[in-house]
């Protein structure tokens, strides 16, 4: 094996950014879900689920904002983050995420998704979903990320994680109540099955493209066969996709008693949440810098290039 294969792994953005991207997608996804449930089911069957998605979305977005704030090196300059929305996806995303949080909070209590404000908030939420992917895919030096498939993956994964949290909350709510809201759990599970299949398909396309593009192939090997393969196959595929799909299909095909339904839906959604979070972390932890092209010679950038030695130095 080429000794230089795994040189230049991205380490600057770690678990905080991965969790931020996950929560930002989940928060925006929750609004989109509330909006879609309200539009697709006007008979008001999902009024509770739609309202719950508004509350949950706002809380998740607040946590995401706090998390990215804690990641900043100089927090005093955080307000400058909106200065260059014309060119920077980070500036665009930060700005639009704050707008979404504000609109989400305004919508709470009104729960009027089909007003102009509701539609505008829906578009803003969709933009946030796309932004979480564009933040990475706009980076040319990381061929693993530099594809239009990544924003698609993040949109599906964001909506999927929103459904997971909504399903979890409805399930937990069912434990403590008489179960009147449980009627919306099965339809939510059916959406989870649909979105999980969609995410799996796009993930397959994304990895297929990574295996075909020479500069992204090392990341592909690292994810599927290398040091991160265990986390990928067990965490992302089995826990994040197979379990939610299997349990989802089982739940939909059987008439189960409420305690069993609640128990299985909690397992299903928790598995989906863990898998989705792991996927974001793996996408960040396996991206490798494009090699330098020195008049035809391919030279790997050493890890220390982006990650100064001082960060690893321990005083003796």
């Amino acid at each position: 094996m080429d000794a230089n294969r795994f040189i230049g792994i991205q380490k600057l953005w770690g678990w905080k950014v991965a969790t931020y991207l996950y929560l930002a997608g989940m928060g925006a996804g929750l609004y989109v879900i509330g909006f879609l449930l309200d539009v697709l089911h006007p008979e008001n069957d999902f009024a509770f689920a739609s309202e719950l998605s508004l509350y949950a979305g706002a809380i998740v977005l607040i946590v995401a904002v706090l998390l990215i704030f804690s990641h900043l090196g100089t927090k005093a300059n955080a307000l400058r983050a909106f200065c260059s929305p014309g060119s920077s996806w980070l500036a665009r995303g930060s700005l639009v995420m704050i707008i979404l949080l504000f609109l989400d909070l305004v919508q709470i209590g009104r729960t009027d998704f089909q007003s102009i404000l509701g539609w505008v908030t829906g578009l803003v939420a969709l933009f946030v979903l796309v932004y979480t992917g564009m933040l990475l895919s706009s980076l040319k030096p990381f061929p693993f990320w530099h594809t239009w498939l990544l924003p698609f993956l993040f949109v599906f994964s964001g909506i999927g994680s929103g459904f997971m949290l909504l399903g979890l909350l409805i399930g937990l709510y069912g434990v403590f109540t008489d179960g009147a809201v449980m009627s919306s759990l099965k339809p939510v599970v059916s959406y989870i099955v649909f979105v999980t299949v969609g995410t799996a398909l796009i993930l397959g396309l994304f990895l297929g493209r990574a295996s075909a593009v020479p500069s992204a192939r090392d990341s592909f090997y690292m994810v599927t066969k290398g040091s991160r393969s265990m986390a990928f196959w067990i965490g992302v595929i089995v826990i994040g996709h197979v379990i939610p799909l299997g349990l989802g299909i089982y739940l939909l095909s059987r008439a189960l008693h409420q305690p069993v339904l609640v128990f299985l839906s909690v397992i299903l959604t928790l598995a989906g949440i863990i898998g989705g979070l792991l996927l974001k972390y793996l996408l960040l932890a396996t991206a490798m810098s494009a090699k330098l092209d020195v008049a035809g010679d391919s030279v790997p950038l050493p890890e220390s290039a982006r990650f100064p030695a001082s960060h690893r130095v321990q005083y003796r």
């Binding site: 991205q10 600057l12 953005w13 990641h71 900043l72 090196g73 100089t74 927090k75 300059n77 955080a78 400058r80 983050a81 909106f82 200065c83 260059s84 060119s87 920077s88 996806w89 980070l90 500036a91 930060s94 706009s138 980076l139 040319k140 030096p141 990381f142 810098s289 494009a290 330098l292 092209d293 020195v294 008049a295 010679d297 030279v299 790997p300 950038l301 050493p302 220390s304 290039a305 982006r306 100064p308 030695a309 001082s310 960060h311 690893r312 130095v313 005083y315």
Partner: protein
């Protein structure tokens, strides 16, 4: 309009790292941070293998990716083509470090002194300029250039492998070297239009 640029002759570079040390001395960069560095790599298979040296610093691109992605507007391009980071505006998101194809900006996560609990006189001299939680990079020794001097790496190069000048002047030394000796840039496919050119190394049979 002036566009400062640099030409590095790979046929002359001996990989001595004098440029790296001169940069460190001039800029008093903290422990572990090198704005200028010399990458060493090998090509071929023994007994026909060769070791090469590739001096690197900020390429001061005409279309800098770091400037494009910076959300705070801390990175700007001067009229003379030099790309600078304003530490007062940087919020330390590290997006510029990831966006640069040449990994030129460094994020100073925390300030690491050379000795635990002791700041050397060398570090004290200019250390306030290196603020933890911000990104920083080569500025072509702006303070020297404004005085009409060459950047420290150019002035100190023992092999005379580095040249500095105006790329827009067709009669300047750098322009003539690029033209006469087929100067090339790193990763042209990134379309950043770097201001640092390299002259090809000698091929050994």
């Amino acid at each position: 309009m002036t566009r400062y640029g640099m030409v590095i002759d790979l046929a002359r570079c001996v990989g001595c790292d004098t440029c790296s040390i001169a940069c460190k001395a001039e800029k008093t960069t903290p422990r572990g941070v090198q704005w200028n560095r010399v990458l060493k790599y090998e090509t071929g298979v023994y007994p026909k293998s060769r070791r090469h040296f590739l001096p690197m610093q900020c390429m001061h691109c005409a279309e800098p990716e770091c400037k494009k992605v910076c959300p705070t507007g801390a990175i700007s391009k001067r009229d003379d083509g030099i790309v600078v980071i304003d530490g007062d505006k940087c919020m330390g998101c590290r997006y510029c470090v990831l966006a640069c194809p040449y990994a030129s900006p460094h994020n100073l996560d925390r300030r690491c002194t050379y000795y635990e609990g002791y700041v050397t006189p060398f570090e004290k001299a200019d250390h306030q300029k290196h603020r933890a939680g911000t990104s920083e990079k080569c500025d072509f020794c702006l303070s020297r250039v404004e005085k009409g001097l060459e950047p420290a790496c150019v002035a100190s190069c023992v092999a005379k492998a580095r040249f500095f000048g105006d790329l827009t002047d067709p009669e300047s030394e750098v322009s003539l070297l690029i033209k006469d000796r087929n100067g090339f840039v790193l990763n042209p496919e990134m379309k950043t239009d770097p201001s640092c050119y390299y002259l090809p190394r000698r091929e050994v049979k």
